[in-house]
Symmetry: C2
Subunit: 635 residues, 2 copies
């Protein structure tokens, strides 16, 4: 059934009016939320859902389905109302907004099937949209991605990182809509209603940009159609809107950000909106042309035929592992931020250029794009220097909330990178990634372990962080050694071990060297490789500690807070086990790696010194205790 | 002495040639470093130092001095060479580059007097430049700020956050120079030598932008002069350059990023460069017009005449404290990222609009600008929702390396914010800030403590983080209570305390409520307010634990990793003290604050339950021990 153009516009206007009504009702029921931000976007959302998108409400995450990303996540009520209008939610559910048992949270999360990623930390939706659009392109699907941004959030640099990649990749299946209501949370935006300034910025970043009246349905529909016809570049629609549009006593006024209407005010506003309805039924949803559901290819069971068994930097082993895994698993895609020759992601680029996404020096966008790719069923591995992944800490946080299936690899960890100095040394990355719920944190020490960690990462559904080392290290494991998430390895053990040293990555090698040195002096050490920091192998640590006098010594190329020592300490905090900790405790300098390891107290000599001190102190304590017993007995 | 124009150009060309020679020599001596990135920038740097800047090499940080920020920090050799040319370094020092005992680190840090902030994490220099330029403007100085960016780093969104603020504030004392050598670390940049694309981007963000040949000294000098004459907008000079320019066998070639020349290659390259010298002496340095050194006004000793003593949200107390402190200390400036009505930074805006910097929704830039303001002797306090400060994690990391005197306040911490949901809840901020060496981390629980914390923050030189709470909380302290960095408070103590609960912020109130409830059952608790998480009051914690059975229970509105419980555990790891920990252990939902506190196991009921279990278990263990003794005795 084809609707007459005027009837279609009226039908879309009615949808928009109902979205406003539902947004008011839901937020008033919740006594909080963002009706005014929903109202400014209602006409845009109505047009996207009922005139522009081709999607399957029963399978919103199919790669053939157009996607909608609400980057301005605080307008969640209008999103939920749209999906109710589509039939994917019951209308009466809408008033459960923000209740503890409702999936209609204050800001959207993927607890809802139609939400690809959590939004609400502003400026991240466009990067996710780039990932979704790239993912559709990789799958050969002609699906589009629509991203609705607030004007205020375009102040986030991440928006321009996404814009530049979309322009660079000429993603003509990506359409950004900017809801320019000119009012931020606490005051006017920088650009107000200067639509042309927004248009120029998008154009300068390689987009086709058009300005429209965001409350004129005919203009919106026409703009969306032009955007869909655009080839060779992404499209931006800059929409002039009014915050609170259509809500009596709110429209255009400051001071209404994030405020629900009181019930009487809401009733009056709803009545006024209802009186504007044309009572034309909503246009039918447009389904994707191809409805076939391509099942994601299953990964082939990992084998390690030519796993690196000699001395190798774990960063290089990472690159090799990607290549091997990429052959087996077509879902694997690799991203890197212009350090692919350092992280060795370039190995994958050489082998599978069509599945490599150069992300340039824009780590925030790299993580958001990875989240978008993951939402298309792909398995993205993204790498940079570990310290530069901190640039994307908020995107990592949101990927955690989204339970995104994203794998991140940080190379050049710690002072052992040497001469480049502190700005290039990751010494807080473990603290960052350990604080993401359900994330897995891996820190392999040799080529075999790295290969295994990459396979474990690919097989786990969720965020995984792999930390690699710049310098070459000796092999520790045989090629057939088995590794598991949540595991650890006792690398050295003897009956008379005096103390357990827990290390990972580069410090495992320092610990082993220290153990050799101490063995020559007749002091036996147990050495544990904590290659998985999260989840942590608590029972193995406890067992090792109890076998060696109830104490552990941790050594890490990381600051003393939140890293390996903290992980061990936190895991054993209620056991009374004594944990001594060696870690970097000040801002380091440039220098030769070996000098730095010792200067900052985490090298082999420092470990030997610490072990000597701990054992001396234990002996002294033992003597004191024996003396006390003797003197008590003799008294 | 006025030089003839041609002689002046030749003199500047000679400077540039010497900068290239010194860059080659230093990196070859260090066997690592970035000569090719230095060579592309050498002509630009020579012109800036010897034709554009007015500065005092003996007081490079004077507010009257023009500043130079090397945003592309990996070109450190050319920076050091320039300061040697100026006379601030001895030329022979240059070859100590990257040695462990040299302050000439791989990337610049403020160990050097002429470096305002550490660079090397790309894309941060322009934001610092904005802060320096604003600081000069605040001081009424006519000093300019020159920022040299690499082309690759303009991919970082933070660059565009800085660009937009400079445009918005019409900072005509800021001049950006982009060294467009078209080669990134691992391949070509996105825009190559498309100078016009860069020009359009800067123009779209409100800048006057001009393109030049970055190796034509006359063009560079003319462009810098035009930029210095520009009024009403910041200026960008887009310079077409060649990577490795002037270095035989390197110029224009890929594969030379971050590589030192072998000695024989270096010798040949230096000889070739030397043969190009005109042997015209360097132009004299231009000194600032006003050489007077304005000493920074000293802060007035803090008083708290009308400190909030009733129920108040600590975020509101923060705003009030800023106002009070702002009256006493003219160095105080306040920044906020469009949530000033939530963080209460708006109180300061109302009182001192001329010292408030609205930073809009661009947290990375807010932190960089704050670092720039601090480098002008001001004391910036910047606030946002605590979770959104994670957006600036890398800027915070670099502020730590820079030892910047920046104060950050994160509001809306934890699940206790309620209905807005997980994207708005900071549950990893303590992990982030604790992992910055020398940072102070404060988490006050009431109005009096907040006021004190703001004063402590202002008085401490270095990075301070203050965490505030959304909801109103009851007063805990009398107005004259004293707080110190590194301190804690025993809020409840009795002779027969069975266990110590350690809490801070919102959970202190939950702990106190739990203590009341348990007291009614005859169970006495000790309650410690750990208002300073870093540095931590280890001895007080140890004393409290030893006084209450050798155990502690920590409670925090933060994930279990890296926060309060981790801080306590880390501090006591070598003591054998048992630490039980209540923390948020999964991604939370939207809901009513009280519901969420209990659902995620950190509310008063959860604390009561945990205390009961710990004491039951201790009693059971005691019984088991007694039984064992009895059975051993009776045997």
């Amino acid at each position: 059934m084809v609707m007459r153009p005027e009837a279609r516009i009226q039908a879309l206007e009615d949808v928009a009016t109902r979205l406003r009504i539902d947004s008011i009702r839901a937020t008033t029921a919740a006594k909080s939320g963002h009706p005014s931000s929903s109202a400014s976007a209602a006409d845009l959302v109505a047009a996207v859902f009922f005139d522009a998108m081709r999607f399957d409400p029963d399978h919103p995450r199919a790669v053939t389905s157009d996607r909608f990303v609400l980057s301005k996540g605080h307008a969640a009520p209008v999103l939920y109302a749209a999906w109710a209008e589509v039939g994917a939610l019951k209308r009466e559910e809408l008033t459960t907004l923000r209740n503890i048992d409702s999936d209609l949270e204050g800001h959207p999360t993927p607890r809802l099937a139609f939400v690809d990623v959590a939004t609400g930390s502003l400026g991240q939706g466009l990067g996710v949209g780039v990932g979704l659009a790239l993912g559709a392109r990789f799958a050969g699907a002609d699906a589009r991605v629509f991203v609705l941004l607030g004007d205020g959030e375009t102040a986030e640099g991440a928006v321009w990182e996404a814009a530049q990649m979309a322009g660079h990749r000429a993603l003509d299946n990506l359409i950004a809509i900017v809801d320019v209501n000119a009012l931020g949370q606490s005051g006017p935006t920088m650009l107000g209603h200067d639509l042309d300034a927004y248009r120029r910025r998008f154009a300068a970043f390689g987009w086709r940009a058009q300005a429209v009246d965001g409350h004129d349905m005919s203009q919106i529909v026409a703009a969306l159609r032009r955007a869909r016809r655009t080839r060779g570049a992404p499209s931006a629609i800059i929409a002039r809107t009014v915050k609170g549009k259509g809500i009596e006593g709110v429209e255009g006024l400051a001071g209404w950000h994030g405020k629900a209407l009181p019930p009487d005010h809401a009733e009056r506003a709803v009545a006024a909106l209802e009186s504007r309805l044309h009572h034309v039924p909503a246009p039918p949803i447009q389904r994707p042309r191809a409805r076939r559901h391509e099942p994601a290819p299953a990964p082939v069971a990992g084998t390690r035929p030519d796993v690196p068994t000699g001395a190798i930097a774990t960063r290089e082993a990472y690159g090799q592992a990607l290549v091997r895994l990429g052959a087996a698993d077509p879902r694997l895609v690799v991203l890197d931020g212009d350090v692919k020759n350092s992280t060795y992601a370039e190995r994958f680029l050489e082998a599978y250029p069509e599945r490599y996404v150069e992300s340039f020096i824009a780590e925030q966008n790299m993580v958001s794009v990875a989240a978008g790719l993951a939402a298309q069923g792909l398995v993205p591995f993204a790498s940079s220097f570990a310290c530069f992944l901190t640039r994307a800490a908020d995107q990592v946080r949101m990927a955690g909330i989204s339970r995104s299936n994203v794998k991140l690899c940080g190379s050049h960890a710690g002072v052992s990178i040497g001469e480049d100095g502190p700005s290039q040394m990751a010494l807080e990355d473990l603290a960052l990634f350990r604080a993401v719920p359900d994330a897995v944190v891996l820190y392999p020490a040799d080529g075999v372990a790295t290969d295994a960690c990459v396979q474990l990462a690919a097989a786990y559904h969720g965020l995984v962080y792999i930390r690699t080392t710049r310098m070459k290290t000796d092999p520790v494991y045989a090629p057939d050694e088995a590794f598991v998430i949540g595991g650890s390895k006792v690398v050295r053990a003897h009956a008379g071990d005096r103390l357990t040293v827990v290390a990972a990555g580069i410090t495992l090698h320092e610990a082993l060297a220290a153990a050799d040195e101490l063995a020559a002096k007749g002091i036996a050490l147990r050495v544990v490789d904590l290659y998985c920091l999260k989840p942590i192998d608590r029972s193995a640590l406890l067992e090792a500690a109890r076998a060696t006098g109830g104490a552990l010594l941790t050594v890490e190329d990381h600051y003393a807070e939140g890293g390996l020592g903290a992980a061990v300490t936190e895991a054993l905090s209620d056991t009374g086990i004594v944990v001594h900790r060696l870690a970097v405790r000040e801002i380091p300098r440039s220098g030769v790696p070996r000098q730095l390891l010792e200067r900052y107290g985490i090298g082999r000599a420092a470990i030997v010194r610490a072990v000597d001190e701990i054992l001396d102190e234990a002996e002294a304590a033992g003597r004191r205790a024996a003396e006390a017993t003797r003197s008590a007995t003799s008294r």
